[in-house]
Symmetry: C2
Subunit: 490 residues, 2 copies
């Protein structure tokens, strides 16, 4: 007779492309989201938390054209055979919410949303299938004041989370200006227009001369392959190159260059007018080009948005994985998209918004040493005498009541060394020790673990000799002395 | 020729059983989670945020025994044919995380986690398929000090979020005591034991006499149906009834009653000892039976947990939907479960924890009028002259710089009445008006909308006559005067 098969043990693993976040990783992000929510709120934006699950029909972009619409999203069928999916961003749910609740919502509707989104894409280093987004959008107004406000708010958010003025810049471009430039080229074939757009998208990588070649006959790329060009004449390509390089010494110069680039195009002239309006509104509030600047070289998002386009970049250098200095780059982006709600209602509803990359910002602050996982471990009260647990609990009770993070060691207390190892693993600043002798004398031992670690590291330094890392204090002074040590580390 | 079919418009709807949360609903919950996280942190618990998606294998409870494991969870197959699912609680992910990272985590590991969980269950009124959990657990210690600490922390959390002492009680029971009681009944047949457990679960509903009947021959229920009993003799049933009604005038009396109920059972005596240890530890920290009480009538969770079981109840009355007073009831629960990690590693790892029902707590605070969606709408600067948008933006810039929530009206400014309707919908406390005349005189009109609403409501009252709800102030005093009005509403 065969033995009954043993069920193999399940593997303790996150699914591929997902990860866990521990301790400070969580609390730093929570703190940053709170800071940003504070700015959004001050600007009059209201919180919205939509469900993580939407119907695939409402998400739209991923409507099933095959049996199983798993391209890009995580989707499944519910008991009614309806396809449901995890949201892939916070904008598609906003469209659904606005269409569903538009009669109850104020117009314009300013809302912010923060939370995880999910992408069913190939994961890679630093690329996860679940990540945070942190968006603010204004729905229901075509006014450029809404776009200007989003830019100002973005600058305020960056400063609020600890990016000082001078270390960031918000760049503003406009899709309508690009449309005007396309008109000026005389290119009317939609496919050729799309090819011009794709070429412009490469401006960040190949620069002016690269774009010139790619708009014309073509270009030998770095790998030696020849990339066919769009086939524009020099004359046709000129407005595009003028557009991309139109940033002047000041806003007036940039706007004047742009006006020249769009030639007589109505839509292009309107786009330049919008940029001028934004610059004027921002100047009135004191946001000069040192913080927010009209910059037509910003091409990211131009294909997606329908009007103004914004991008926030951090301008300081960090060292990449090979130790080479490079610009930190983009941490937020957004723009105007006027067809948000039309899918649902048939009505065009203008909208503009921004999405801040919170994880990118946290990485930037870490790279600059502005966020240090501080020694925020708890004070650990060790257990010398298992029967006196109540006394040790009373100690942490007092410490906590004074607002001090504290805990009793709750593992097996037999080996005192293990208790100190635990305190070390917890990043504890202080250990408290009270054995029978101390108890009889009415005192406790306080061990300054951070000072202790410093002494261990620099054992030869004279200065440490006069500062013992462990000392005895009356039991009644426990809280006071611990506070002193913690204060000294501020 | 047939016309090409028009694609029908997608419906703007949340999936069945899901909902959206707006404005104060979101910010109140965020604030409460932050308060609770503060207490958890002070007790030495570290944040953990695991991914929303787990392998069905790791979730365990819902291993697929059919092709599609959609019972209870939302699940789907990924590109490798693996079943993935949304987490249904925060405990199963903790087991997976602890098993996966146990070599890097401190022992004991105190962690807290907050976030949405998903249940593929039939939705109902107030029952949603996505809701928040807010858990704290200590993994890796069998010490009763860990259980006592969880109870103390739970009491602190309730007070921190605004439930005053006297309005709540944390009740503690113990599964081991129940096991001892089962031994004392002499019931050894596992099926009959299970029937006794199920009967105990009904104690909340049917009371002592109901349980007595159900343990014996049976009972006529309210609908007139006869429910068969477990078939115990009076003598066999006696320890169970003694257990359920063993709460005495003080802790010592309760413990003494429990010792009698378990007779000579070793496991039962050990369980009573555990309760005594918890009570002693809590008393040493000043948590008396007015806050945390040994109460064997708590039966919820006894089937699931392996040692101490906790439940927090709010003791004040609220009015139900029919206007009848009733106790608010349970807002948190937890206990010890020592087989958390064994599925993964084969090793038994003791653990104990609590889950706070944040949405229940928010409902309780609303029911008691302790959370009022305060008039936290923004100051609205109206637009009298479209060309002077920059001036209006400068006003809100000043107000925001002073920490005051403010915005310019960004809808179509043509109809001034619409602007005031908008301010009303936003719950704005103040509207600011500056037309051409005001601008020429260097003044602005300030409209106190809350006072205005009060006057409108009580138009006959004399007192309002002397307090105009709209007045003119010099432009330079805008921020100061608005602050005065807002301060007056504190």
């Amino acid at each position: 007779m065969a033995k009954p098969k043993k069920q193999p043990r399940p593997k303790a693993e996150t699914p591929k492309g997902f990860r866990d976040y521990f301790g400070a990783e969580v609390s730093e992000r929570t703190a940053m989201l709170r800071q940003i929510a504070g700015v959004y709120h001050r600007y009059g934006f209201d919180a919205l938390e939509s469900s993580a699950v939407e119907t695939v029909e409402a998400l739209g972009k991923f409507l099933p054209d095959v049996d199983r619409p798993n391209e890009g999203v995580f989707a499944w069928q519910d008991e009614d055979e309806k396809w449901l999916a995890l949201r892939y961003d916070l904008t598609a749910p906003l469209a659904r919410v606005y269409a569903q609740h538009r009669n109850d919502l104020p117009t314009p509707y300013r809302r912010y949303a923060m939370g995880p989104v999910w992408r069913n894409e190939k994961p890679g280093p630093g690329r996860f299938r679940q990540f945070y987004q942190c968006d603010a959008d204004t729905v229901g107004t075509a006014s450029m004041a809404a776009d200007a406000e989003i830019c100002a708010m973005l600058a305020d958010c960056l400063e609020e989370v600890g990016i000082p003025r001078g270390d960031y810049v918000v760049r503003v471009n406009n899709r309508k200006v690009l449309n005007g430039v396309l008109e000026a080229t005389g290119v009317t074939d939609p496919e050729q227009q799309a090819a011009v757009l794709r070429t412009i998208d490469k401006f960040d990588k190949v620069g002016e001369s690269g774009v010139r070649e790619l708009l014309g006959k073509g270009r030998l790329d770095a790998s030696g392959a020849y990339i066919d060009g769009v086939g524009l004449s020099d004359e046709q390509a000129a407005p595009v190159l003028a557009f991309l390089t139109s940033k002047g010494g000041d806003t007036a110069a940039t706007l004047s260059n742009l006006r020249a680039a769009v030639g007589g195009s109505d839509v292009g002239t309107a786009g330049v007018g919008e940029l001028e309006e934004i610059a004027t509104l921002l100047a009135a509030q004191g946001y000069g080009p040192d913080r927010i600047v009209i910059d037509p070289s910003v091409v990211r998002g131009l294909g997606y948005y329908t009007g103004p386009v914004f991008e926030a970049e951090l301008t300081f250098e960090i060292l990449d994985e090979k130790g080479r200095p490079r610009q930190f780059g983009s941490v937020a982006g957004g723009g105007r998209y006027d067809d948000l709600v039309k899918r649902f209602t048939g009505q065009e509803v203008p909208a503009t918004g921004v999405s801040i990359g919170v994880d990118r910002l946290l990485a930037a602050l870490h790279a600059k040493g502005r966020l240090q996982a501080k020694a925020e471990g708890p004070v650990v009260v060790t257990v010398m005498d298992r029967d006196r647990m109540a006394d040790y609990q009373a100690m942490v009770g007092e410490l906590r009541a004074a607002g001090i993070r504290a805990e009793v060691y709750l593992g097996n207390p037999k080996n005192f060394g293990n208790q100190l190892k635990y305190a070390d693993k917890r990043n504890s600043p202080v250990a408290v020790i009270e054995g029978g002798d101390e108890n009889a004398k009415g005192v406790v031992q306080i061990k300054d673990l951070i000072l202790g670690a410093q002494i261990a590291e620099n054992a030869t330094l004279e200065e440490w000799k006069e500062r013992p890392s462990q000392f005895e204090v009356p039991r009644a002074q426990l809280v006071e002395k611990v506070r002193e040590i913690l204060g000294g580390q501020g």
